[in-house]
């Protein structure tokens, strides 16, 4: 983890560092979601699932030593110092801001990328009649998935040309630099760059390099859902329903539907045989994640005192103006 990969999440307002960590690894609790929403990094939720707390803390210690962040009044909270802001400004080219990616909706994005790249490699080697090669991923389940897919598509007329068409349709829609970088990560017949070679050619940090690819994948998944007829090969490989999940959890969505239909929180709890506290958690999740949430309707239904934890949270969410600003 490079300094810029952590500094990008801090601002001049103190925030708990663990909430950033839990956000990146995707620990979905109301408090982590709220912190992410408040501090504009909800997009990045679950974008670094394999990040270890030790690595994260080491990086934070580095920022402290360099005086880029300083401790806030609340325990374990930190804010960006002037030096930190200056550094962040200077390192701007290392930061990538996604346009399509929403971490909460594509929690297995990294595997999606591996799957896609392996499929491209398999077609490339097959097209060149090469059987003697090493697959780009050692992940057994992904290898099996690609094997199964290859059996389905290998008799497709002009297989590799069709794949070129589909990849072209996708890559054309990305900014040229992003499309080039994504393609440079492909592996295929007599082709492939090492991590260090790729890093030499781009100002982006390691994490941003991952985001570039996750963002591109998100666009591809959008296309596969919207124009399945244009992607007969990739549509069978990356079935959108399996890779993209709704932003709300299944249960929270059921509560939301009932709430929209005009049912009170008590009625919903009774009908769904769930505790009141669970229903309120669902409502908080909905309020946080659904842009058009009707706060007025909630206020009419709610009979809890304004000092209650739930109402304080609701007020907090309502106060957050508009949508997230990307970091």
């Amino acid at each position: 983890m490079e300094a810029i990969d952590l500094i990008r999440f801090f601002s001049d307002q103190p925030q708990r560092y663990k909430a950033i960590y839990y956000g990146l690894v995707g620990k979905k609790t109301i408090s982590n979601l709220l912190a992410a929403k408040k501090n504009n990094y909800l997009v990045y939720f679950h974008s670094w699932p394999r990040l270890s707390l030790t690595t994260f803390q080491k990086c934070l210690q580095g920022l402290l030593r360099a005086d880029f962040v300083a401790a806030g009044e609340v325990a374990d909270s930190f804010y960006l110092t002037a030096a930190g802001q200056h550094y962040r400004q200077a390192q701007q080219p290392a930061i990538f801001i996604p346009s399509y990616y929403q971490g909460l909706c594509i929690p297995q994005g990294q595997q999606g990328i591996e799957l896609l790249y392996l499929a491209i490699q398999v077609i490339s080697e097959y097209h060149h009649g090469q059987k003697h090669y090493i697959p780009g991923t050692t992940n057994y389940l992904l290898q099996q998935r690609v094997r199964q897919w290859f059996q389905q598509v290998k008799h497709y007329p002009q297989l590799s040309q069709q794949l070129v068409q589909e990849l072209t349709r996708w890559l054309t829609a990305l900014p040229a630099d992003q499309a080039d970088f994504v393609a440079q990560n492909f592996q295929g017949y007599q082709f492939g760059f090492q991590q260090s070679e790729l890093a030499d050619k781009t100002p982006l940090s390691g994490y941003s390099q991952q985001l570039v690819q996750l963002d591109a994948l998100a666009l591809l998944l959008q296309y596969l859902a919207q124009q399945p007829q244009a992607f007969p090969l990739l549509g069978q490989l990356l079935i959108p329903d399996q890779w993209v999940q709704p932003i709300l959890s299944y249960s929270a969505n059921l509560t939301y539907q009932a709430f929209m239909a005009g049912q009170s929180l008590k009625q919903i709890g009774y009908k769904r045989r769930l505790k009141d506290s669970t229903i309120r958690e669902h409502i908080l999740e909905v309020a946080l994640l659904m842009p058009g949430f009707d706060f007025e309707q909630l206020k009419q239904q709610d009979d809890l005192p304004p000092t209650d934890y739930f109402n304080i949270r609701v007020a907090e969410i309502q106060e957050m103006s508009g949508h997230e600003r990307p970091n």
Partner: protein, 486 residues
């Protein structure tokens, strides 16, 4: 030797002839005998189980001590075009492991660690499918008398009895008489075993050692040698940092395509480097010994030890990567007075001291899965029924043995006599022909370039820098698609 064996040798492996020892081992396996094969590194040990598998069919289970060795075998088979190979190890999650177990009947080769093989679910599944051939790779790890002793290998006798494979093949590059006896006893196969022993000598590899006063001198020596040394080659280092730095120097200052290679590299990078090395796009690999190379590149002309190892076994293993095509090659060791301290420090690495052993045995469970090599070793001993005193005694013995190995190896390095004779004597072999100019340099070689001329490895090369190779790689996405898919 029947015609089918030779047909498979040609069609699957591209060879016309067997190397010494291979045919005898393969015939033994096909006759469903148990075989102990003691073959030098680079003599094609893997072929001894791969070829019979293609003829017999059925599942071959290969027990290997290290995940990196298993991955190497998988890569090697993949590069041969074989996809029916799988490694079951702790890097996979339970879902993946269960998926592999249920699909096991689709595979020809299963690479597995002894700990995993001993699991009840794994054993049950293998009993259902039936094991044709059980291969114990690095079989010397089962012997308490060897420096590479691995407690988990002790379970293999029981496991083998449960699996009841049609035949068992025990493979090792290095085993003294005592270790050989131990292997057979521990696996319970003594009565019926056929032993195939071949000399560890690799006569086509010239053995050379240079004296370098310090690290700077080593760098200077490399810079002098590489522009005139026949490529490709491998340079071994004792540290990742040094390997990385030297790869850069070789590339930038000498214009020779080079890459560094060690266990901390991303999987994709390791594979890319191997593929480029195989495809002659890379000429020099700066590697650490922590990671097995796993590639069977036949035309490696030199192995340089920038840092020499601590024992004969590692030395033999590493120089054995040169000259697998039988052509003249060279092994050059750089010796400096500072090296001894570094080697001594390496001996203690990963070995628990008395305090750690005592602490561990007070509450063994507390130290399970710490990820620390020393505690992992203690855990393995404890799980195999060793008590504190036994472990202390064994580890003391192990350390003494390692020190003795280092002393002997250093005598070899410092020797003014025929080094090949010393090397062979260590493994109980004798020189087959008298020392000559093609054998080794006696003492420290003051003029290595002269030696290269003498053995025909002197060149004036026109190196192709890696940057140039990379420059030919397309960078725009449209070009990349054309390159890989059209």
């Amino acid at each position: 030797m029947n015609a089918q064996i030779e047909t498979v040798l040609k069609s699957k492996f591209g060879y016309d002839h067997f190397r010494p020892g291979q045919a005898q081992i393969i015939q033994g396996v096909l006759d469903q005998q148990n075989v102990l094969g003691i073959l030098p590194t680079g003599s094609g040990k893997s072929l001894c189980y791969q070829l019979p598998t293609y003829i017999q069919g059925g599942l071959t289970v290969v027990v290997s001590p290290l995940i990196s060795l298993m991955q190497d075998q998988v890569i090697q088979l993949n590069l041969q075009g074989e996809k029916r190979v799988i490694s079951l190890n702790s890097t996979l999650n339970m879902v993946e492991q269960q998926a592999i177990l249920s699909n096991l009947s689709h595979y020809l080769f299963l690479l597995i660690a002894p700990e995993t093989l001993g699991r009840r679910d794994v054993l049950t599944r293998l009993q259902q499918i039936g094991v044709q051939l059980l291969v114990i790779d690095e079989a010397h790890c089962i012997s308490q008398w060897g420096v590479d002793f691995r407690p988990s290998y002790l379970q293999l006798g029981t496991i083998r009895a449960k699996l009841r494979p049609k035949s068992t093949l025990m493979l090792t590059a290095t085993a003294t008489q005592r270790v050989q006896q131990d292997i057979l006893e521990k696996l319970g196969v003594s009565a019926t075993t056929q032993k195939v022993t071949f000399s560890v000598d690799r006569p086509n590899i010239f053995l050379d050692v240079l004296q370098c006063p310090d690290d700077q001198a080593k760098v200077a020596q490399l810079k002098e040698l590489l522009p005139h040394l026949a490529l490709p080659g491998i340079i071994y280092f004792g540290s990742r940092k040094k390997a990385q730095a030297m790869a850069q120097i070789i590339q930038q200052d000498l214009g020779i395509s080079a890459a560094y290679y060690h266990g901390a590299l991303a999987t994709k990078d390791r594979y890319l480097i191997q593929q480029r090395f195989m495809a002659h796009q890379l000429q020099v690999i700066c590697a650490t010994n922590a990671f097995g190379m796993g590639i069977n590149k036949k035309d490696i002309r030199f192995v340089i030890h920038y840092h020499l190892p601590t024992n004969f076994e590692s030395y033999l293993q590493e120089i054995g990567r040169a000259g697998r095509d039988g052509q003249q090659s060279i092994a050059i060791g750089f010796n400096s007075p500072d090296d001894y301290q570094r080697q001594l420090a390496l001996l203690h690495m990963g070995l628990p001291d008395d305090t750690m052993i005592k602490l561990f045995y007070q509450q063994p469970k507390k130290f399970a899965n710490t990820g620390d090599t020393a505690f992992d070793l203690l855990w393995a001993y404890q799980q195999n029924g060793f008590d504190q005193q036994q472990v202390q005694k064994l580890l003391q013995h192990k350390l003494i043995e390692k020190q003795q190995e280092l002393t002997a190896f250093n005598q070899f390095i410092q020797s003014q006599g025929c080094r090949r004779q010393l090397l062979l004597a260590h493994f109980g072999n004798e020189l087959t022909h008298p020392h000559d100019e093609q054998c080794c340099y006696r003492g420290f070689d003051p003029k290595p370039l002269v030696r290269l001329k003498q053995i025909g490895l002197y060149v004036n090369q026109q190196p192709i820098a890696d940057q140039q190779v990379l420059a030919t790689q397309p960078r725009k996405w449209q070009q990349i698609l054309r390159h890989i898919l059209e």
